[in-house]
């Protein structure tokens, strides 16, 4: 009798503990956003209050005003991401087709090689290429950063595109040919629409990786190509006395694409792919 009692109590404790644990981790993830929001809506907030003393939209208004660097940084970051995505599609299309459709010697090895930038420390690659970029006069330029950003993004695009190509039956292209379509028409009317899901998935990943990227942009761009992450970095340069509200607003802006990305892919891509989005 008494053992039954303590069993029930133990079970309740376990259930409680589990729920508390899960909730705690969830909070651990979400809670840090709260001060971010609060700071962005702060006019002044000083020690030791737990809430802003004076609320205000100053930070947001400033952020979107023409003389803040934020709007410009937003444009550059987005433009950069779009350029990198576009370049990636062009570069990765043919290799992905070869990987997805054909078998050849050392295919595993080549695949691993193409994916290796995901593992190899980007600091090492950055320091190494810097000289090359300087010599090619690409250092501190937008184009240089775009090219540098190819390194961490190509693996994603190739992965996504080769996956669609694996499932693409080239018999469709043969059928199109027999109906009179030359190679170009076949590609645009038949192949491209059918691999579009892969292009979209690859583009989403590439865009996000480029958007969030810091090390290469900072090193190759030399601080002259000011993306949002470089800007945020510059805001945090000094230890004290920098403008928390504006920094907070910037941080929130920077988080938006990531959250949108999560929502979009929640429907589509499987969980295993997520693990590779880690930066």
């Amino acid at each position: 009798m008494s053992s039954l009692f303590s069993l029930a109590r133990r079970k309740n404790f376990v259930i409680f503990f589990r729920k508390a644990f899960l909730g705690a981790v969830g909070l651990w993830v979400l809670v840090p956003f709260i001060p971010l929001f609060m700071w962005s809506f702060t006019k002044s907030w000083f020690w030791p209050s737990l809430l802003p003393n004076i609320w205000g939209l100053r930070a947001w208004r400033y952020s979107f005003s023409p003389y803040s660097k934020i709007i410009e940084a937003i444009w550059i970051t987005i433009l950069l991401a779009l350029v990198v995505t576009f370049l990636n599609i062009i570069i990765c299309l043919l290799p992905a087709r070869a990987l997805g459709q054909r078998q050849f010697k050392r295919k595993q090895f080549i695949r691993l090689f193409i994916l290796s930038p995901l593992i190899v420390p980007s600091i090492a690659v950055a320091l190494g290429v810097l000289d090359i970029f300087i010599r090619l006069r690409l250092a501190n330029t937008f184009l240089g950063v775009a090219i540098a950003q190819l390194i961490p993004t190509m693996p994603y695009m190739v992965m996504m595109l080769s996956a669609v190509f694996e499932n693409f039956d080239i018999a469709f292209e043969e059928q199109a040919k027999s109906l009179g379509a030359g190679p170009i028409k076949t590609f645009f009317y038949v192949t491209l629409p059918m691999i579009m899901p892969g292009i979209i998935a690859g583009s989403l990943f590439t865009f996000l990786v480029s958007f969030n990227e810091f090390v290469l942009t900072f090193l190759v761009g030399g601080g002259k190509v000011i993306t949002l992450s470089v800007l945020l970095f510059s805001f945090m340069g000094g230890e004290a006395g920098y403008d928390f509200p504006i920094t907070a607003a910037l941080a929130i802006i920077m988080s938006i694409p990531g959250i949108i990305f999560l929502f979009i892919t929640e429907k589509a891509i499987k969980e295993e792919f997520f693990a590779l989005g880690f930066q």
Partner: protein
């Protein structure tokens, strides 16, 4: 007008000939069927005619002109595959009109022709549907319409009915047949199904291992197959080995496990020569009267009886050979019974080419 000639057409993969020096004249306006087991090279041949495969040797003539160096997209040949291959991102009208679109035809004309084509295949009104909304037979008909709309003079079909269920297959078969008769388009049809071949073909080319073994009208193939392989493939299951006893003008005597058989065929094989011969199960008579006096009568024991609802198949052993008899006379003879079988000498066929059956 489309008269197609294959001259020593070959395709080599690695060191092996998938298609081995094929020579063929394909008459205009007829249906030719390539018949053979999987892997015999019939699809490869078809693809070479379409231009989707490059021959390693030989030539293909279209109305007297070589088309080997003409790319597939310029050959104006209609092709229908086994998997229909309807473009999934286009609706029926766009699929059917595809060939015209890539030829930069006027959109209004395209609409007209698509309507026409859909009418021919009895799918009017299906313009806006997508392939996922269509049944197998409907998809197949869209694929056919798509191939027809480009005004081609040669239609190639690669086992298009393989994915359909039996009833639909039969329906589609007669559909294709009547279509071809009406439009008089030269058609090359590939299949491994012999009953399909016999139903559709004006002439059948039997292919084994990349070579064409026999190219004849179905009737000839059926009654006078050139070799045991061909006969076997066409379902002539009684293939027996024998030795020529004597041969005269229109008569031959053969000694086999059955006994002595008279054959009403004139061949010039020397005495003592080993031959293969066949007699179709439906041409053998069977009855319980062991004393029959007809020519080619043999007594044997029934080993197996298979009822097929309206007809019966009997299997008898003669030595190591099994003879199959197909009887529709409503008699029922039981196993282990001794019966006599007999058949007309005219119905026996000695193979001109004797190759061992695999």
């Amino acid at each position: 007008m489309a008269d197609v000639k294959l001259i020593s057409l070959s395709k080599k993969f690695g060191g092996i000939y998938a298609v081995d020096h094929i020579n063929m004249d394909i008459p205009d306006g007829k249906i030719i069927v390539f018949l053979g087991p999987s892997g015999c090279g019939k699809t490869t041949t078809l693809k070479m005619i379409a231009g989707l495969n490059t021959p390693t040797e030989g030539d293909i003539l279209f109305n007297g002109r070589s088309i080997i160096n003409i790319p597939a997209e310029k050959r104006n040949i209609g092709m229908v595959f086994q998997r229909y291959l309807l473009f999934p991102h286009m609706n029926v009208a766009q699929n059917v009109g595809f060939g015209l679109k890539v030829r930069n035809t006027d959109p209004i004309k395209i609409k007209e022709k698509v309507e026409e084509a859909l009418k021919i295949v009895h799918l009017s009104g299906f313009e806006r549907k997508f392939s996922t909304q269509l049944s197998g037979g409907e998809q197949q008909r869209v694929a056919i319409a798509r191939a027809l709309v480009i005004n081609t003079s040669l239609l190639l079909m690669d086992e298009p009915l393989a994915n359909l269920d039996t009833k639909l297959r039969t329906e589609m078969r007669s559909f294709i047949l009547s279509l071809q008769r009406r439009l008089k388009i030269t058609t090359i049809f590939v299949t491994h199904d012999q009953s399909e071949a016999i139903t559709l073909a004006d002439k059948i080319a039997i292919m084994f291992n990349g070579k064409i073994i026999q190219f004849d009208e179905p009737k000839t193939l059926f009654n006078h197959p050139i070799s045991p392989e061909v006969a076997d493939f066409l379902g002539a299951t009684n293939i027996l080995k024998g030795i020529v006893k004597s041969c005269q003008k229109n008569k031959c005597l053969i000694e086999s496990e059955l006994g002595e058989t008279e054959v009403g065929q004139s061949i010039d094989f020397e005495n003592g020569r080993e031959v293969f011969f066949t007699i179709r199960p439906e041409h053998i008579n069977i009855n319980s009267d062991k004393e029959s006096k007809a020519k080619n009568t043999y007594v044997g024991k029934i080993k197996e009886v298979v009822y097929e609802g309206g007809s019966v198949r009997y299997y008898l052993n003669f030595g190591k050979s099994i003879v199959q008899v197909y009887d529709r006379s409503n008699k029922v003879l039981s196993r282990e019974k001794y019966v006599s079988i007999y058949f007309d000498p005219e119905k026996v066929w000695i193979f001109p080419k004797n190759r061992k059956i695999m």
